[in-house]
Assembly symmetry: C2
Homo-oligomer: 725 residues x 2
């Protein structure tokens, strides 16, 4: 039955496809090589080329080593095989661009060693993955190898004899492709970023080998029955999601992105996933233009790249939502690749400004063109405006609302998260937000508890505290009810739900507004949040206004955290220092110390210092409310957590409550000039004037006795502002 399926597909495909093979043609093309050889190299291309030459020459000098697979990530054999595919890919490009045969010979000899050994290697001895690889500990890394190496193979294909090609195809590439597909359907046939890598690997080598069976397998998946619907992968995600019957590359595009190009796992995983998407798509575009892959789903792949670029702070670092290691940025090689290919397709000049931040290009026709345009186009920051990125395959599972003002170093950003759960890497952070002033986190998202690839920390894998702290609600900037995480911290329930965006309204240039509701995180508690990015000439920077409403018929403890992670400068409440006490025994509270507690009056105001800037939060409060100054690090025997500070505004025995705050970034300080500029906030108080079913009106008072009333329509996000002095 499976055989007939393949034959049918093959027949259909062949009839559509009649291009002759020419090498190179997978990513770098013969026309591209001609252009690069005939024109003067622009500086960035020259720099990238020089850096590649240094790396590969060094690798050649060190000698080829293809060791028997043994180690986990970080260990010798893992890193050596990783180096091999990276340097082979670069060497292939160098052979084409410089014409120096030593690069082709290096790739050839390395490939021959792999071909000689591959069949003798058993499955990787570690056996710690749901899909153990052969060269690496997981099929995912094996796929990385094949995605890169297929480019090297394409680049030196003409350098090889027919016999050498046959030997490599039969001894190495075909068995390798079969291994990560037919022999590991639980890896290859999912709708998941792992499988995208698998599809790209099999498809790209198939395109080089002109092997239609492999190409079709990559595009449309294996036809198998999958009954083990409750099986999970190493991250705790379901291997097969209900209702997702399709597999293969087109299915990945169908399911991985929302129509806005948002990737439900968030930008940290998207930047990694974009690489196989874009590389395989470019290869398809080059070899199978009839498939019009970049037009698929209204040009979704390029949209995906842009959505990824928008989810960054002023330095191009990704918002660390869901599981994400902080500091990952658009400078990553995978994003350079994705952007280069997206530019090649779209020719969007704004991508040139993002490429300037990357300061690196691909060694192909796209990289050459970008490096050329960087010289030609005027210097501008990468412009990112306010944008809402809808989540879910059909764009109906909440969204990520990004409110923005300014650009370059003056970029001020609020990231408001009312998305779906984000699969196995999702956090319990419904309606949470984070604020950036340039690249400084004013209120932070903790990110993941993980040091990727660092062996000392459990081999670089997720640490236990990722689950017990980083994923928990209290580790974010959103409401915690009765000291329990959203959905009780249960993935199975969380994954069935998503928040709902109500409005994302940027009509009023003085106050971009986003509103969302979450009905399912806590049974019987409705949570609504409205965020305004408010601009007024009285303030040098935008002010974030935050209206968080919780409604319940029952009384609860409401904990509202502010992850300021800085040094407290002053506050309007009386602090009683305490011996640090662990705040609880579950849902993240077991990792928090209370360092000080205070009784709130009519308002809470705290001024802090971080990264040479001054910030102030001003909140409405009621007598009886508590303020807890807390710090992370309790029950952390392996010192896996940072010791960051947070403030928790606690309402006891509350049913209906509003948390209303203004967050100002207002001052700077340099330890060289020792001169503070505007160390104090300008806002004196913030109050709810009226809150009805249809609108909420707030009043902000400045210390200079200015008053503003902002009335926000709860359905449309229309903001009316009245100023009085």
């Amino acid at each position: 039955m499976r055989k007939i399926y393949y034959i049918l597909i093959a027949l259909v495909s062949t009839s559509l496809w009649s291009c002759a093979q020419s090498y190179p043609g997978l990513i770098l093309t013969t026309q591209g090589v001609e252009k690069i050889k005939s024109e003067v190299h622009p500086p960035l291309f020259k720099k990238t080329l020089q850096s590649a030459i240094e790396k590969v020459d060094h690798a050649i000098l060190e000698g080829i080593d293809v060791p028997t697979p043994k180690d986990m990530a970080g260990g010798y054999t893992h890193e050596q095989h990783k180096n091999n595919y990276k340097y082979m890919q670069l060497a292939g490009a160098l052979y084409q661009i410089n014409g120096d045969k030593k690069y082709a010979e290096y790739v050839k000899q390395t490939l021959m060693q792999y071909a000689d050994k591959f069949s003798s290697w058993p499955v990787h001895p570690t056996n710690r993955s749901y899909a153990t690889g052969k060269v690496f500990w997981q099929c995912l890394n094996d796929s990385n190898w094949l995605v890169f190496t297929s480019q090297a193979y394409d680049a030196i294909h003409e350098y090889l004899t027919k016999e050498e090609v046959e030997y490599l195809d039969q001894q190495l590439f075909r068995p390798y492709a079969d291994f990560i597909s037919i022999e590991n359907p639980q890896f290859f046939n999912r709708v998941h970023n792992h499988s995208t890598w698998g599809n790209a690997a099999v498809g790209m080598i198939g395109l080089v080998m002109n092997d239609e069976e492999l190409i079709n397998r990559a595009l449309y998946g294996l036809k198998i029955n999958t009954d083990n619907s409750l099986a999970k992968d190493n991250d705790g995600g379901f291997i097969y999601e209900k209702g997702k019957a399709k597999a293969g590359f087109f299915a990945q595009i169908d399911y991985a992105f929302s129509p806005d190009g948002y990737y439900t796992e968030g930008p940290y995983y998207q930047r990694y996933a974009m690489l196989p998407f874009m590389l395989f798509a470019q290869a398809i575009e080059n070899k199978r233009p009839d498939l019009k892959i970049f037009e698929y789903r209204e040009g979704l792949l390029v949209k995906g790249v842009k959505a990824l670029l928008y989810q960054t702070n002023a330095s191009g670092e990704f918002f660390p939502i869901n599981d994400a290691q902080k500091g990952m940025s658009i400078k990553a090689g995978s994003v350079v690749t994705a952007l280069n290919i997206a530019y090649g397709i779209s020719k969007d000049p704004d991508l040139i400004n993002a490429a300037r931040l990357q300061n690196s290009v691909l060694l192909d026709q796209n990289g050459f063109e970008i490096a050329t345009q960087i010289e030609k186009l005027p210097l501008q920051p990468f412009e990112k405006s306010s944008i809402e990125l809808k989540d879910g395959k059909d764009g109906d599972e909440g969204a990520l609302g990004i409110l923005r003002s300014g650009s370059g170093k003056d970029e001020f950003t609020v990231v408001f998260k009312y998305t779906g759960q984000g699969l196995g890497h999702g956090h319990y952070d419904k309606l949470s937000y984070a604020i950036y002033d340039g690249d400084v986190e004013v209120l932070q998202d903790y990110g993941a508890a993980r040091w990727v690839n660092i062996d000392q920390k459990e081999g670089g894998r997720y640490l236990p505290e990722n689950k017990t702290w980083a994923k928990q609600t209290i580790a974010h900037n959103t409401l915690v009810v009765d000291k329990k995480s959203h959905f009780g911290g249960k993935y199975e329930i969380a994954n069935l739900n998503h928040s709902e965006g109500i409005f994302f309204n940027t009509d009023n240039p003085k106050a971009h507004a986003a509103g969302a509701v979450e009905l399912n995180a806590y049974a019987g508690v409705e949570m609504r949040r409205i965020i305004l990015l408010w601009k007024d000439d009285h303030f040098d920077k935008p002010v974030v206004l935050d209206i968080f409403e919780a409604v319940s018929d029952e009384e609860h403890i409401y904990d509202f955290p502010y992850q300021f992670a800085g040094q407290i400068m002053s506050q309007n409440f009386t602090v009683e220092g305490v011996q640090p006490e662990v705040m609880g025994d579950a849902h993240g509270y077991q990792h928090l110390y209370s360092e000080a507690i205070a009784e709130a009056g009519e308002s809470i105001q705290m001024n802090w210092f971080k990264d040479n800037k001054f910030y102030t939060m001003t909140s409405e409060s009621k007598p009886g409310d508590n303020i807890i100054l807390g710090r992370m690090g309790a029950n952390d025997p392996d010192f896996n957590l940072r010791r960051d500070a947070l403030l928790i505004h606690r309402k006891n025995n509350a049913s209906k409550a509003i948390f209303l705050s203004a967050i100002e970034s207002h001052g700077t300080y340099s330890p060289v000039t020792e001169r503070p500029i505007q160390p104090y906030s300008k806002i004196k108080s913030i109050e709810t004037v009226e809150n009805t079913a249809t609108s909420v009106e707030i009043e902000v008072k400045s210390k200079s006795e200015k008053k503003w009333r902002l009335k926000i329509n709860k359905q449309t996000g229309k903001v009316e502002i009245k100023e009085r002095t």
Copy 2:
């Protein structure tokens, strides 16, 4: 009597001095102006000039304001008067260089307002200084004003009528100079950086006014009897030190620096003090070349500037020894001024490399020349080799030993402190050290507990925790005996003592060595430390070897802290997590929590991560020793302390003991590539082989079974290294 003294001095001076006055001639000279006007401006000069124009034009646009003095530092009137003198100084230079009269007019009108108001102002209402100022809260700031304004006055002198000059001299400058000298002898007549400012202020305005009485007062001090020898200033330092009878500028040079140019308070205070030293000296050189001020004490002032530049990390940030706010660097305006003047005198081309780091120059002939040389000379890092800077007026009160390797970003530095106490700003840190890898603190000096000029933190003054934590021994990297600070934390005793350097030996290029002894910090405990900066091809970076010997007839608790301030990655001891407990009630221990405790075996090894680098300490230990993983922040109700981590190696009931450690900086990690390079140390163990009265021999074993024996002569610091495999 006083009168006769002045007349005599005046007579002597006049006979030597017969130069006619020409304006400008104080700092910027007429010849300098001619040169600047006639030549093409090099880029850095152009940039500095443009920045000055922007600042002054903005100030002119804002309008002149000379408010009635009222505020402390950070408050409006303080900042406005500070702006006034800064912008007047710049405006004076701009008038000379650009010839635009609006700048002269701005200075003139501002000065006229001061002159109109000065006599009506009482002493500053704050009354919080031992020497309350008139325009500012302390005479020190008043002196700053006069040092800067005298330059502005000199620059526009020709623009003024004779009547205007007379009015300003009589209504403003002479009374101002008298106020900070005659009316505040406790400020003016000390040997102290405050008085250096006072001397420079009075002397510089005297030179502009051609007022010999003021000039002599500045050079030789007031002749008064000072009986209040126990009076203290606001920092707790004695106003008059025993045996220091002299006063005035020459006395400051005599007493402030050691023959090596080391300033006993350390570089943070030196960078501030160098400004009046160098400016006044330059003014004297220009106006009174007969005094040969730059030849005084064998060219000490230029030596002082160089000593200051040497006390920096790779980014030019000063070592935060004694009271010092971290981040202060050679980019400070005062150091730009000092370096520019030192270059003008010495023409030392290496200063050009330091000037590149500063990226700013003075708007005078020296700045012009430096900016020109920056274009001409090849790009090189500022070279700083190993150097010992002797402390004490006569260079016999210990020293600061700086062991160095590499330059630029590869600069690796150990700062070993066996100096005197450093006056009122000194810390109880005998034989302490700090390590820098580039600009990253491998083992930190905490610095001061202070946010300079930041009003929220007690008006920017020293915080209580500066005394209770930052000055205490446990806040440093040196031995604490019986949980008490050196000298019991008593300034009066500490100030009478200093450590003794035994050797500073850089003969062996593989191991620069410094050795010192401290006999007085603890009665009955002799402390000796030898530091080696060891270079071997087996390691990518130098390894710090630390041999700390404590000898006593009695048993003590020895606490040996490692201020690593990073994230623990792994360790060779079993940690028992504990509820944080306050470690004591005095000598800084009241600010420490123990977060975990462990029993030591034969060795202690800990690997940590900080600023994207990996470090490892490896120490010899004995069963029975304890390891305490601690953190700062206990008893800190105002959140004045950072929450930095430290490790304490504790020996209980010890009399004679050696703390032997190796500190490696061995690896890096980028969150963009996610690739750790050498995350683990190469050293497996370190041991004392033999320790006699004359030498100590240690053995270092690598994980790859290499062995090295290093034998150090305890008198000479000669290091013999034997390697075996």
